[in-house]
Subunit: 340 residues, 2 copies
């Protein structure tokens, strides 16, 4: 696999069935383009003007309680609405197909503290966030087929408020990305009788070159098919279908690995590392979903420093995702930043 | 279709087979997040430090000729390289599949003038750019299966130099996005005996509500399945497979519609409108590609003003593209900006 770290090639994303173009020699390219504004100001512990801080008024007018642990509320500007009733899939016609959809969008404040991020929290507090993710998934899974837990972190990722928070968007339909993963995981399971990601994890534990950090239960790797420069895939070493299925021990070890890898991200460019992250687990509905293996994707945009990001633009939008750094190189740097 | 402009729904992209979540009621959402830096400085007609201006030295050391029309050169930091020989598809194994690839990347300067953009050029000059796109497609199509013509415009789209220019990346493989369009167009053609986009264009010419601008040969619409707020699809009204197949008359009418629609974009938020655009036409290779209908996609990121863009982040990356503005509303605004 020598050539894979220097010559241009494509890799197949086994989870989605899509390719990524890898051009490792491009890392030499000088960057003359846009620089992102750094944000090294330290926010206050409580911000009078923050609509997520305890006791403050939200944009919809409601007032937040004096919460102490994670706090969940309905998104005041939800992209999905529960109103619609049953009529679900109205196929529209021919080239103009559409579907009515139903869903709910919520916001999860991770902590009452305005100035902290996930890795700044104690293991106990991170554990509470994990329990909230699992609880929301379970509750919304009773009504909807898909529950998307995610976090946009940093202004560069469209996050409009530094107060540590994530979101949940639950929907009556299975969105594009998990639908692709469903197909690929199902095919693999039917053929091999094992989840795709348990076999993948096993291979990564032998190869070791893409591991960022691990513990007894969890593995964080820069996946072989990573698109974003320092993308990571976080997964349990043995198959677990969904977040609510995680036992006590695995929730605690998840808190530990999250703290380790997110602290590593922050080390890498000495900045509070921006990213979008989210969880994928078995959809709800009629099927047992044995082919699913729960996992989180972290998609951070930074490429060379706190101010130079990877632009997913012309070629990427029109043709195919492209990266300038081999996954193995990125993993080595992140591993070092994690001190593991 | 009343409900389609107010209630959340999904629409199917007939060209790719993927869905987009549409939440038209979200346009009311206040924006408290990152604002993009405006760039209302007017650049000089010739910039001593620009590596694309005539007579200047490039980063690789070479000097540009004193060109007068469009000027094409090899990208000094190509993501694809011609070196590799024939061995093409080496499937790798199992979950770790890869392919060796070959290709070439070039830069196309649209004009010697540093301070102009495509719509500022005369019809004759735009026509020369079109001829260059067609010529490059034809030339590189003799060696490669796919020729991706594209332009990243504006710092916000990762463009590192305001000098008007686009790129060509030719590759031994058909990238993800055109591969999806190939499947969908082929299926349609086999079933209906007509190209998907000629039927689509016909319907749009009856409906009219998504038309931005048109002339005898060309149609620009905000497609029914648009993802980006002011995305447009530009296509010939009758099937043409590839850019090199366009006759004299269609090249001139293309220059005209490009000038009209790009001037409209610039009017919309009174700013030089950033976007990524690119052409898709029949791949080269063994097949005739009768199912293909050449077209250009324009993906502009701006949402509400010159400084507020749409972020394609958490939900979009992890689940599914989402938009806050119905395609029909966007088309009406763009149509007005084009004065058509
Ligand atoms: O080659 P350029 O113009 O410097 O680079 C730009 O366009 C490329 C093709 O879309 C992208 O891969 C880069 O991220 C972007 O910065
Ligand atoms: O709802 P928010 O956090 O204001 O909005 C942010 O996340 C959403 C979900 O990824 C995106 O659709 C928006 O573009 C982004 O600005």
């Amino acid at each position: 696999m020598k050539a894979l770290s220097s010559a241009p090639h494509r890799r197949l994303n086994a989870l989605t069935g899509e390719w990524v173009l890898v051009s490792p020699h491009r890392t030499q390219r000088p960057w003359l383009g846009q620089k992102e504004a750094g944000s090294n100001e330290k926010p206050p512990t409580h911000d009078e003007k923050c609509y997520l801080c305890p006791g403050n008024a939200r944009m919809g007018g409601e007032r937040n309680p004096d919460y102490v642990g994670p706090f969940v509320f309905n998104n005041d500007f939800s992209a999905l609405l529960p109103q619609q009733t049953g009529s679900s899939a109205s196929p529209g016609e021919g080239l103009f197909r559409y579907e009515e959809v139903a869903g709910e969008c919520r916001v999860i404040c991770f902590s009452p503290r305005h100035d902290l991020t996930l890795p700044d929290l104690s293991l106990q507090e991170i554990r509470q966030v994990i329990d909230t993710w699992a609880g929301q998934t379970e509750e919304l899974g009773r009504k909807y087929r898909w529950v998307q837990i995610f976090e946009n972190k940093g202004a560069i990722m469209g996050c409009s408020n530094p107060h540590p928070h994530g979101q949940v968007w639950a929907s009556s339909f299975i969105p594009n990305e998990p639908a692709k993963e469903d197909v690929q995981q199902r095919r693999y399971y039917e053929r091999e009788g094992r989840t795709l990601l348990s076999d993948y994890a096993e291979r990564e534990m032998v190869d070791r070159e893409r591991i960022v950090v691990e513990n007894a239960d969890w593995l964080a790797v820069v996946p072989y098919w990573a698109v974003w420069p320092f993308e990571t895939l976080l997964l349990p070493k043995v198959p677990v279908r969904r977040l609510p299925d995680l036992d006590e021990a695995r929730r605690l070890s998840l808190a530990k690995i999250l703290k380790a890898m997110l602290s590593g991200y922050d080390q890498l460019f000495e900045t509070s590392f921006p990213y979008s992250m989210g969880w994928h687990g078995a959809p709800y509905g009629d099927e047992p979903g044995e082919h699913w293996h729960v996992h989180a994707h972290f998609y951070p945009p930074l490429l060379r420093s706190a101010s130079v990001k990877k632009f997913m633009v012309g070629y990427e939008l029109l043709a195919e995702a492209q990266r300038d750094l081999a996954a193995e190189t990125a993993a080595a740097r992140l591993r070092e930043a994690c001190g593991s």
